[in-house]
């Protein structure tokens, strides 16, 4: 019964999406205000229908209704409640439903918060989102229906992969998908602008908060995925340059470029065509990520069951959505008149450099990820492209990016004086140099470069704030006034740039990590990274749907006890699978990390890691996303304030 209701809601959502695609676009073309005004209501309707469908699937899973095939295949009556809920999106069918649901949320959000948009633009944006939605909903209904029934229902479900039974992974897909799907809104804005044939500063101002929101989610999603790999998989690594990871990095790189180039559209009415292309490209990368993961076309550790037929359907969907938008781009982009001119050394120039470097990195990641496929199909050569390639090629592009990141924000618009800008950053350069020299003396060239870059970014971000508030150069009261008067977007930029600095410091720290694999009997101890690791005991403990084996390790330094680590090994009898439960003790500056392996002759094989600065990798990503969120809270972005921009735009035209 629940299944039928959900199925009906899904079909209803699909019908509403079709109407949402047709009516507002037609209305905008005919300048029919009534049809255009219907757009938000249709978007809300689609959201309600899909929320009903998703709710039905969750409910079927919570009450363990095994007559629904999807629940029978992926759930189990003994599974803890949290994972019965979150497990609904841990499989292919459920995740497509989640994807469509988030897309509906985006449409409804444009309907709800787009009150100050021109009616035609809002109608077109919602229409384009509806068009994209109906593609995904058709895919859900025809190729991957989560509500298919099995009769008779099995007595119990097959359970899910134990590695997915983890709180980090439970919330990873919704956050990551919010990032991917969120870029559908800038995409829809770009397509709407192409249909209308015009882009102005107001368009830039409307697009930026949506792009920024999606970017924040994507940043958090990637960081959460990387963190999960670090603590759950137990290899001690955090980024493997796996095709699936790369697929999430591509839209992040172009999305970062988009967030920056939209500023140029907003402030200077330049880079319009490029920004439209970035908006289309970012969503195209989001979509093709889905394709690559679900078609099994790439060699990845992480993948859904391979199914070429499913792949063909998604490919057709991609061809329709991306192809039609690019055809529109080829036909209409020349109508987007380019605006303000600027000197190479200027804020705009720095943002262009940012775009060049980010897109080059993206091009390298795309090439490296696709090359094995290309080589096999075209050249008949079987080869692999792995972490050593990406590390070697991406690093030279990141260095100038980091160097420019601190300089860009202190340059002025239109034309800037590079010497004067660098003078303002002299102490950031000095600190970076000292940090670099100190690190080079201790740990060699690469970590030194990374630590110097990190210091340059963090101090550079501070320097920019200090410059704007004139700390120590004006009376303290005036400084406070200036802080209060500072735009939140400026704080946001500084915070986001400093966040990358923190992440880079974490990566540099991890390059100095040490580890050891030891076989210890209870009572024996070993020495690693200045700590004494003593295995105290090996015990059995029951778990909800697994059997647990716990090693208790005490850590001490110079005979002073520091911590107790208790790595576990979980045996899931249902799946006949063993999963390690890593023990991590952090103090914010280093992680002590232990994994329990097999046991032989009374001795347990333990892998012990000492990971300096490891938490900074994800802390930095959180700070970056926080910077984005702070920027979003800027009053002017929230209001959109097209009215305020009218006067200067008119003045520019008059010149």
């Amino acid at each position: 019964m629940i299944g039928e209701l959900g199925h009906f809601a899904l079909a209803l959502g699909c019908v509403l999406a079709v109407i949402q695609a047709v009516v507002p676009l037609y209305g905008a073309q005919r300048r029919d205000v009534l049809l255009m005004r219907a757009a938000p209501a249709l978007a809300f309707g689609q959201l309600i229908a899909l929320a009903g469908a998703a709710g039905a699937l969750v409910w079927a899973s919570v009450v363990s209704d095994f007559s629904v095939a999807n629940v029978a295949e992926n759930s189990h009556s003994l599974k803890p409640l949290l994972y019965r809920i979150t497990g609904t999106w841990g499989n292919h069918e459920g995740s497509i439903l989640l994807w469509a649901l988030i897309l509906a949320v985006c449409g409804a959000a444009v309907g709800a918060f787009g009150g100050n948009l021109p009616t035609a633009l809002r109608a077109r944006v919602i229409g384009v989102l509806g068009f994209t939605s109906c593609g995904f909903l058709l895919f859900a209904l025809l190729e991957s229906n989560p509500f298919l029934r099995v009769w008779p229902p099995p007595v119990d479900g097959q359970g899910m992969n134990p590695l997915l039974q983890d709180p980090g992974l439970a919330f990873h897909p919704p956050i990551l998908y919010s990032g991917y799907v969120g870029f559908a809104v800038p995409f829809a804005f770009a397509v709407a602008a192409l249909i209308e044939g015009r882009i102005d500063a107001a368009w830039g101002r409307w697009v930026r908060p949506w792009a920024l929101t999606a970017w924040c989610f994507l940043t958090c999603g990637i960081a959460l995925g990387s963190w999960w790999a670090y603590y759950e998989v137990g290899w001690g690594g955090y980024w493997f340059w796996d095709p699936v990871e790369n697929a999430s990095l591509m839209p992040w790189l172009t999305g970062t470029a988009l967030v920056h180039s939209a500023i140029v559209v907003e402030k200077r009415e330049a880079l319009k065509v490029w920004t439209v292309l970035l908006a289309i490209g970012t969503f195209a990368f989001s979509l093709s990520g889905t394709f690559m993961v679900r078609s099994g076309i790439l060699n990845s550790v992480h993948s859904f069951a391979n199914d070429p037929a499913r792949g063909v359907f998604i490919l057709g969907l991609l061809a329709l959505v991306i192809g039609s938008s690019l055809v529109l781009f080829a036909l209409r982009a020349r109508h987007l008149a380019s605006g303000g001119v600027f000197a190479p050394i200027s804020r705009e120039g720095a943002l262009v450099l940012n775009n060049i470097l980010l897109c080059s990195i993206c091009a390298v990641v795309v090439t490296g990820t696709m090359y094995p496929l290309f080589a096999e199909l075209v050249l008949g050569a079987k080869l692999s492209v792995g972490a050593p390639f990406f590390n070697a090629t991406v690093l030279p592009l990141v260095i100038p990016l980091v160097a420019a990141m601190s300089i860009g924000p202190v340059l002025s618009w239109k034309r800037a004086n590079l010497g004067a800008a660098l003078m303002r950053l002299w102490y950031a350069a000095l600190v970076a140099l000292c940090v670099g020299l100190f690190a080079a003396w201790g740990w060699g060239a690469l970590p030194a470069l990374a630590f110097a870059g990190s210091a340059w970014l963090i101090i550079g971000a501070l320097a920019e704030l200090i410059e704007r508030t004139r700390l120590l150069r004006v009376p303290f009261a005036e400084f406070l006034d200036r802080v209060a008067g500072l735009r939140r977007a400026a704080f946001g930029t500084a915070l986001a740039h400093a966040g990358l600095g923190v992440t880079i410091a974490g990566i540099a720290g991890m390059s100095l990590a040490s580890n050891a694999v030891v076989a210890l009997q209870p009572g024996q101890s070993t020495h690693l990274a200045g700590y004494d690791w003593t295995l105290i005991s090996l015990t059995d403990a029951p778990g909800p749907n697994y059997q647990s084996r716990v090693a208790t390790i005490s850590l001490s330094r110079d005979h002073l006890p520091i911590a107790i680590l208790a790595p576990e090994r979980h045996f899931f009898p249902l799946q006949n699978q063993t999963v390690s439960d890593v023990a991590i003790r952090t103090n914010g500056f280093r992680d002590l990390y232990a994994v329990l392996g097999e046991e032989r002759d009374g001795a347990a094989v333990l892998r012990l890691h000492y990971n300096p600065l490891a938490p900074w990798i994800w802390l930095g990503a959180l700070i970056m996303a926080g910077g984005g969120a702070l920027s979003l809270s800027d009053r002017r972005l929230r209001l959109g304030a097209p009215a305020a921009r009218k006067a200067p735009a008119g003045a520019a035209a008059a010149q």
Partner: protein, 148 residues
């Protein structure tokens, strides 16, 4: 998206938890370091996307052992890699060899930068927009008057 269904392949690799035998490390730290650096450039054949240093698979453990044996026997890094590719092909190298078939791959950062640079230069070199035609000028004047 993400790492949703990691590990069909870990299933295939059995319950090994990427933990290997401590006895396999070479006694000489310099040699062990070389072995780790080499191992992280060689792909685990069973698990497809990990290096043999990271993998818990049985075969990866054997290959790790062989890398160490050969290093202890005095092989150079190139010799160890050649030993591997003669058995498993170019596929085992996570850092592909530079030759005609990978030239495009290795040139990709430079090509991307050149392309982007050319686009920017083209834009900068583009002629300024042509002056307004008489009709456009009229239209502009009309609009300006309306605005006032």
């Amino acid at each position: 998206m993400s790492r949703l269904l990691l590990v069909l392949l870990l299933l295939a690799a059995g319950p090994a938890l990427a933990i290997s035998d401590p006895r396999e490390a070479l006694p000489d730290p310099a040699q062990e370091q070389r072995a780790e650096a080499l191992g992280s450039q060689l792909r685990c054949l069973v698990c497809q996307n990990e290096s043999i240093e990271d993998s818990g698979a049985d075969l990866a453990r054997d290959l790790r052992g062989i890398v160490r044996q050969r290093i202890a026997a005095g092989d150079s890094d190139a010799q160890v890699i050649a030993w591997m590719t003669s058995r498993y092909g170019e596929f085992v190298r996570l850092r592909p060899h530079f030759d005609a078939s990978t030239a495009l791959l290795w040139a990709s950062p430079v090509l991307a930068l050149l392309l982007a640079g050319a686009l920017v230069l083209r834009r900068r070199g583009a002629a300024p927009p042509p002056p307004l035609s008489a009709h456009e000028q009229q239209e502009l004047d009309r609009l300006m008057r309306e605005d006032v």
